[in-house]
Symmetry: C2
Subunit: 195 residues, 2 copies
Amino acid sequence: MAPPRPRPGLDAERVTDAAVAIADADGFDALSLARLAAELGVRTPSLYHHVAGLDGARRAVALRGLRGLGTALRTAAVGRSGPDAVRELARAYRTWAVAHPGAYAATQRTDLAKDDELRAAFARAVEVVFAVLRHWEQDEERLVHLVRAVRSALHGFVLLESGRGFGMDASLDVSFDLLVAFQLAGLDAHAAARR
Amino acid sequence: MAPPRPRPGLDAERVTDAAVAIADADGFDALSLARLAAELGVRTPSLYHHVAGLDGARRAVALRGLRGLGTALRTAAVGRSGPDAVRELARAYRTWAVAHPGAYAATQRTDLAKDDELRAAFARAVEVVFAVLRHWEQDEERLVHLVRAVRSALHGFVLLESGRGFGMDASLDVSFDLLVAFQLAGLDAHAAARR
DNA sequence: GCCTGCAGCCTAATGGCATTAGTTGACGTT
DNA sequence: AACGTCAACTAATGCCATTAGGCTGCAGGC
């Protein structure tokens, strides 16, 4: 009786694709199962066969985010070192985060603790920063602090940029270049002081 | 018939107090009208006499946040200049944001556009950073970029700190001191290059 | 070629939350 | 004493997430 609806043929991957698209387009908070189901031409409960509810969808987006960012950073840093590596790393970080604001937001809004897969993806991304900054500091103990400083700057910038947190309309590119220069100045000063 | 409940005697301020308390304690996402009403010993619809729904409550928290942060920064910077002012500003920023994670999150999660009161409070807070950094750059056009770099670093750090975004358990105080040193090195390098 | 299982989607039902409309009762004013 | 105001209420609606259980059509065994 009912018209034989075409079977969408979903799987976890296609659901995640759609979830990432929604989050990137309209913000992480716009991701709901209702919206996701509508976008996929399916009823809400059907999604439970592919992801573990709303939390599962969010987690999937976060995992995509961490992996995508990690890959972008790795690609940018390979074959480079020193200031050149930092500049390319920073550029890749910003480019990726601004292109995927929803997935990027997901990485900060989901709890990494108690989820080995998420933590592994996170570690894989941060590792790149460690590797690049070892050029200025070989002691792992102290290196942690350099990594935190650089990560904070990058993280803060992309968040402010994609959240329209910067009031003025001066060039964001110029600002970002200056921010990178600040990091390099800080790194050099740190290395010089430790001599 | 019904037991004569004591009249709570609410007003916008007391509702905002409770909203800030909830957001600071359990995160910005934990703020709901249901929770707020329960905390105040009142039914949900009654809140509409004091705040404009959930969005209104969120906005009130954001406004508190911007004003509180602005005041903290102003207090820290008064009577200081140069590196000393930057250090105190940074310390105050971090201290305030970590003490009020919910209100701080509110400031980034609510839209400032189309809300003059929020924008004014925001401007009042950022003004302090402008004033302090003018020590290194007098041209307002270029100053914007310095302010953005420093804001990004501070913003990123406090977000990572209160969101447990730093994996390792090395001292956060040491990391933050280093981050501030990076900013000072960047500022000095910038001023030197512009000579 | 039939039947049997299961994978994939469905409908129905529950409960939480936000929101609006309309009601009640205490209090100060006249 | 009557009145109006105002703060809180109850009732009702609608959206969303979640769970339980039912239908269907394709795969593999007989």
